[in-house]
């Protein structure tokens, strides 16, 4: 159906929702609204994100988000590179969670090319994904505290403490892959690096430290009176709207929708490791924090289970796919979605075209972009201070939103 402005207005009025498409001409001309360009050069826009806020005093009347300041043509680049060359490129998409980027891309290629992954490699990928989720949520908590408390105050204390623990996870990854960021450890059909000797003990000791400190962070955030005042009832996203907008991950689960691809469409080792999906009611910044704290604990549990139950065996197929000529697809199209720390990261690939060693078309579905699309609905009525909190609570990573 053609979505004209009139039908959209009608539909939103029916649901009692903010209409983000309402023209500025529809607002009272005498209200003397102030247009504030919020970003892209702003300390709290999580990278280069821009919102145009129409303010009545400090109250936001209309919010218009703009993305694209970090567009790097990753999808086009992927269409020009061969299948085996692409993992380092997508590492930088969601630059807080490179492991899951690699995993999503590699899984799509494996499905397209019909390559089997050994059981040990699947378990290792699951271990990496859960460790990465811990690191990513820690970084989110720190930056959210920065949004609420400022870089020159209590927020930065929590921020640096979270970074200290995140470092433990990065050390583990460095031990396996030699890199702290550009892991490039996922191969089509398996993994490039095996776990080093004594790795299980190191994982356990790092996770024990992280777990013991989560309680401290709860005191500084969830149980703190000022944090509750700033987050309760702020930026309420109802579950129905979230589903319509395609919001996934912790943001969706905080709105009371019980959806997690790890349980609903198991991949990796999740068919053998049961995932307890964490949800919360309310859909506000507080609920989103609660969900992420729950997921921190759940991911620690899953990572422990993964390292304890790590099966023996090869980490890669009989003949590792490293040469461009080894990976060819003349036709076919696949979509693979996985649950990253931010939600459903989907990869859609069409094989074939002029060069069978490259994808004909590649499209990435970033969860951050869909989370940002909720902003024009939930920002109006909030203050500028709330806008910072709401934006931070959605955990957007502009690297993957803009690609």
């Amino acid at each position: 159906m053609e979505m004209t402005e009139a039908t959209l207005t009608m539909q939103s009025a029916k649901r009692g929702r903010v209409d983000p498409h309402r023209s500025m001409r529809a607002y009272d001309a005498d209200a003397d609204l102030m247009l504030l360009h919020f970003g892209p050069q702003h300390p709290s826009t999580h990278g280069v994100f821009r919102m145009d806020l129409h303010l009545d005093g400090e109250i936001i009347v209309k919010a218009t988000p703009y993305v694209g300041y970090l567009h790097r043509a990753v999808e086009k680049l992927c269409e020009r590179l061969t299948y085996v060359q692409q993992t380092p490129v997508v590492d930088k998409n969601d630059y807080v969670s490179p492991m899951t980027n690699e995993q999503a891309l590699t899984m799509a290629f494996e499905k397209l090319l019909g390559v089997e992954v050994p059981r040990r490699a699947r378990w290792m990928r699951t271990l990496f994904a859960e460790l990465q989720r811990v690191a990513s949520h820690l970084l989110w908590l720190g930056t959210f505290a920065l949004d609420l408390g400022g870089a020159l105050g209590g927020g930065s204390t929590l921020f640096l403490h979270c970074f200290r623990e995140r470092e433990l996870i990065l050390d583990l990854f460095e031990e396996v892959t030699g890199a702290r960021f550009h892991y490039n450890t996922h191969l089509i059909g398996g993994n490039r690096h095996d776990l080093p000797a004594g790795f299980a003990a190191k994982v356990h000791s790092a996770l024990a430290i992280v777990e013991s400190r989560i309680a401290e962070y709860e005191v500084l955030s969830l149980n703190n009176g000022i944090f509750q005042m700033r987050s309760r009832g702020v930026g309420v996203l109802d579950g129905e709207l979230a589903l319509e907008l395609g919001v996934t991950g912790p943001n969706l689960r905080a709105s009371g929708v019980d959806h997690d691809l790890r349980r609903d469409a198991p991949y990796g080792a999740y068919d053998e490791l049961a995932v307890n999906v964490v949800t919360a009611q309310g859909g506000d910044c507080y609920a989103r924090t609660q969900v992420r704290f729950g997921e921190l604990r759940e991911s620690i549990r899953l990572a422990r289970a993964a390292i304890d139950g790590m099966p023996e065996g090869p980490i890669c197929g009989h003949k590792p796919i490293r040469q461009p000529g080894q990976a060819k697809a003349t036709s076919g199209q696949v979509y693979v979605g996985i649950e990253t720390p931010r939600g459903e990261l989907g990869t859609f690939v069409i094989g074939g075209g002029d060069t069978p060693t490259c994808p004909y078309r590649l499209k990435i579905r970033p969860p951050s972009l869909h989370a940002l699309s909720a902003l024009p609905y939930i920002l109006p009525g909030a203050t500028v201070s709330d806008a910072v909190a709401i934006l931070g609570s959605l955990d957007p990573i502009m690297g993957e939103a803009d690609r």
């Binding site: 609420l148 400022g150 209590g154 000022i226 500028v384 201070s385």
Partner: protein, 326 residues
């Protein structure tokens, strides 16, 4: 010595002392914050990084002085100067020891509140003159906040004034050294009045959790967004001096100022001031920031009624307490 000569001499000494204390205070805060955040703080410049504030100032003074296009140049240039003058001006009535007061005014408390209350003027001037929307929002917030928090501040300060029957800061300290510190006795109006004073002082000095006019995660840098170089340095300095003077006045009004055993009065006054100064840092590096409407709610729904109640209790205490109970 004439009164003018006395004032000029002590004033010059006081300004020098305040500025060097602020320099050491900045170093201390950075070390303190570093330890709280499991890092080292400054270590490179000078022994233990002690010369870091000097390096900061040299760096800031070297920066290009930018006046934004469309700014009100006169107000823009005047605001940081006025901020520094007002924040240092309050220090004139500080009773450092029985004999070290730059200006022992009979109405020192009124002077302190009046000059301290003027701090909002340069802040709003800066917000208005910068021709920047973030600065303007910061200025708006600053006006609302400072004027609102002036009320509980005055009410909190009235408690020691009523109990001691003096409007002179030195008089209040003298009364406390003869009787009790107000934070210790009478506990009911004394200690809560100190808590009220401390919160209002944090709000007046724009310190976390009330640093809403600056709010760098929301308003970039609030009123100081467009300021660079020397002018920014002056704002920075004024903010620190304001906090330091606020701590000193808190020590004088509620903790007996120079009163203490064994050591000279000056030492006690400095020790108490710095202890309060550290608490300000401690709060700053622990708590998150309130929203401006929540700040107003806190002020008008809680602090102001509590302040009125404390003043009434203090008045009733003076009126009805048995002889010698004070």
């Amino acid at each position: 010595m004439s009164a003018l000569g006395h004032g000029a001499l002590y004033g010059a000494v006081l300004i020098a002392v305040m500025l060097s204390t602020v320099a050491v205070g900045i170093w201390f805060e950075r070390k303190f914050a570093g330890r709280m955040q499991s890092r080292l703080g400054p270590t490179i410049v000078g022994p233990m990084g002690l010369l870091q504030p000097l390096a900061d100032v040299v760096k800031l003074l070297q920066k290009e002085d930018i006046i934004p296009a469309g700014a009100d140049r006169a107000l823009f240039n005047l605001a940081p100067v006025l901020a520094t003058i007002f924040s240092l001006g309050v220090a004139a009535v500080l009773p450092l020891s029985p004999h070290m007061i730059a200006a022992d005014l009979d109405i020192g408390v009124v002077y302190m509140l009046a000059v301290g209350g003027l701090m909002v003027v340069p802040t709003f001037m800066a917000g208005w003159a910068s021709n920047n929307k973030f600065a303007l929002l910061g200025g708006m917030r600053a006006v609302a906040q400072s004027i609102s928090y002036g009320v509980p501040l005055v009410l909190a300060v009235l408690v020691p004034v009523i109990l001691s029957g003096s409007l002179s800061l030195a008089g209040i300290v003298r009364w406390q050294s003869e009787h009790h510190w107000f934070a210790l006795w009478p506990v009911i109006p004394g200690l809560p009045a100190f808590a009220l004073y401390f919160m209002a002082m944090l709000a007046e000095a724009n310190r976390i959790p009330f640093d809403i006019p600056e709010a760098e995660s929301e308003l970039v840098a609030g009123v100081t967004t467009e300021y660079t170089g020397a002018k920014f340095t002056l704002f920075y300095l004024a903010e620190y001096v304001h906090t330091l003077v606020g701590s000193a006045i808190g020590a004088a009004l509620f903790f007996g100022g120079w009163d203490g055993p064994f050591a000279p009065g000056l030492h006690w006054m400095v020790a108490k001031t710095l202890a309060l100064f550290v608490v300000v840092y401690w709060v700053r590096w622990t708590l998150l920031r309130l929203r401006s409407d929540q700040l107003m709610e806190l002020c008008w729904k809680w602090l102001t009624p509590i302040g009125v109640a404390l003043v009434l209790i203090a008045a009733a205490w003076v009126q009805f307490a048995p002889q010698g109970a004070l």
